[in-house]
């Protein structure tokens, strides 16, 4: 009995010594998500790690500089592409080293997917808004790109989930966005129109909803796919 008590005390002591306090982001995520496991899964998201965020910020900064110098509207075209690529690389066996293990735990893989995708989207949207505010040339399309960003991100997520490859997901999503931009250029003479035509808001949102439906279908269990999603 005494040995068992000592063991328990020892475990408590070592746990205090070995454990480190969760970072501020994780503490906030714990409160918001009400799941410590999900919060920890969120802060391990591959495309929310520092190097990825720095790269995204650098690309948008270049976009801001070019927009200022040339008077173009590059930021609204870059932001959806960056968010889409980030979402394709946010989850799954191609990018998450512990993916196989996380498939056997009670916190559902689909919930992790949703939390990570939303977090990546939110972070990229915030970066994009900051870049738009710093690039006056963006003018009227300052935040209009949020709707096409939603569509591109959903397309990347669906394609990555279907193919099981983040690279393929990003490529398909970015190809879709490139087609939309080129079509706007040809049809209206302005590429930025792909991100600012009010008539496209509803189709973009419907398209995003269809992509999300595909993701939900592919990640369902039973009949789960062999590679289990992205």
């Amino acid at each position: 009995m005494m040995a068992a008590d000592l063991d328990r005390v020892w475990e408590g002591v070592t746990a205090r010594i070995w454990a480190s306090q969760p970072a501020a982001v994780e503490r906030v995520a714990r409160r918001l998500l009400r799941s410590p496991g999900l919060a920890r899964a969120l802060v391990t998201t591959p495309s929310l790690l520092g190097s990825w965020l720095l790269a995204s910020a650098a690309v948008l900064a270049v976009g801001v500089l070019v927009s200022r110098e040339l008077g173009t509207t590059l930021v609204p075209l870059l932001a959806p592409a960056l968010a889409g690529a980030g979402i394709a690389y946010s989850y799954g066996p191609g990018t998450d080293p512990a993916y196989e293990l996380t498939r056997s735990v009670p916190v559902s893989a689909r919930t992790v997917l949703l939390a990570r995708a939303l977090a990546v989207f939110a972070v990229n949207a915030a970066l994009g808004v900051a870049a738009s505010l710093a690039a006056p040339a963006a003018g009227g399309v300052t935040v209009a790109w949020l709707v096409p960003m939603t569509a591109v991100a959903a397309l990347c997520l669906a394609a990555a989930t279907l193919t099981g490859s983040p690279a393929a997901g990003a490529a398909i999503g970015l190809a879709g966005w490139a087609i939309a931009v080129l079509a706007a250029q040809v049809a209206t003479g302005g590429a930025e129109r792909a991100a600012s035509v009010p008539a496209l808001i509803l189709p973009d949102l419907l398209f995003a909803a269809a992509c999300v439906a595909v993701v939900l279908h592919v990640t369902r269990i039973p009949g789960d796919r062999v590679r289990g999603g992205i």
């Binding site: 735990v105 009670p106 916190v107």
Partner: protein, 247 residues
């Protein structure tokens, strides 16, 4: 029974990795033997609820893993070590094990203590704050075992757990298996026959997706009487059953 499997089949495209497997197991250590490509890993992944079967039925810990709520209950009491342990190189040993304690829904107040206990049980206390990228293969394997046992599982599934462990560590690990097997069902997939002889109460031998032998290690040894291939009695039994299955 903690594991009840009937007619379990799993295909990947045109290939069938596991065919019509029948299996049941209660508390104790259960060895899963077989050559490479026999279907051991696929069977273990199905038991770990990582992939669903193509057909057949599975009940784990008295529950149906096809039902969402029951699957969640099973996973709370499940420990799984995959053949290739994926890990975050910048996590410490303790952080990694604690992460899985949290993912297994152990309350945060208890998760750190459970992680400390699991790290101690695999004798990695002196490396608890070491980054995973600095560890040897054998140490990483022990980290994998620690995350698998952090929730005191009722069902523990280990795929090649002794790969990379030195002989002394393997002996320690077998003792740990016997201890856990006193109250839980432990399934160990391996092609190291001596591990089965030393630690398992029951053994199944797989070949070409099927279970071709199911019994005690002593019964497997008996099957090797008079068989020339193999250096030890249990190895001769293994070789004899495989030779018969290949006919």
């Amino acid at each position: 029974m903690n594991i009840e499997v009937q007619g379990l089949t799993r295909g990947f495209g045109r290939a069938t990795a596991v065919r019509d497997v029948e299996l049941s197991a209660d508390a104790g250590v259960f060895g899963l033997l077989g050559p490479n490509g026999a279907g051991k890993t696929t069977l273990l992944r199905m038991l770990a609820t990582v992939i669903p079967p193509s057909s057949g039925s599975v009940r784990l810990l008295g529950r149906d893993p096809a039902a969402h709520r029951e699957r969640r209950e099973i996973r709370r009491r499940l420990g799984y070590l995959p053949q290739q342990l994926g890990y975050y190189p910048n996590f410490t040993v303790f952080e990694f094990v604690e992460y899985f304690a949290l993912l297994k829904e152990i309350p945060p107040a208890r998760a750190a203590r459970a992680a400390a206990s699991a790290v101690d049980r695999v004798q990695l206390g002196d490396r608890a704050r070491a980054k995973l990228r600095t560890l040897s293969g054998g140490m990483l394997r022990r980290v994998g075992i620690a995350q698998a046992i952090v929730n005191d599982p009722g069902l523990l599934l280990l795929d090649e757990p002794t790969a990379g462990l030195d002989p002394e560590q393997r002996m320690g690990f077998r003792a740990l298996l016997r201890e856990i097997g006193g109250s839980a069902t432990v399934v160990v997939s391996t092609h190291l026959v001596e591990d089965v002889g030393a630690a398992c109460d029951r053994v199944a031998l797989m070949y070409d997706g099927r279970i071709v032998f199911h019994g005690s290690p002593a019964e497997l040894t008996d099957r090797g009487l008079g068989h020339a291939v193999g250096d030890a009695p249990l190895e001769r039994g293994y070789a004899a059953v495989l030779a018969q299955a290949r006919l």
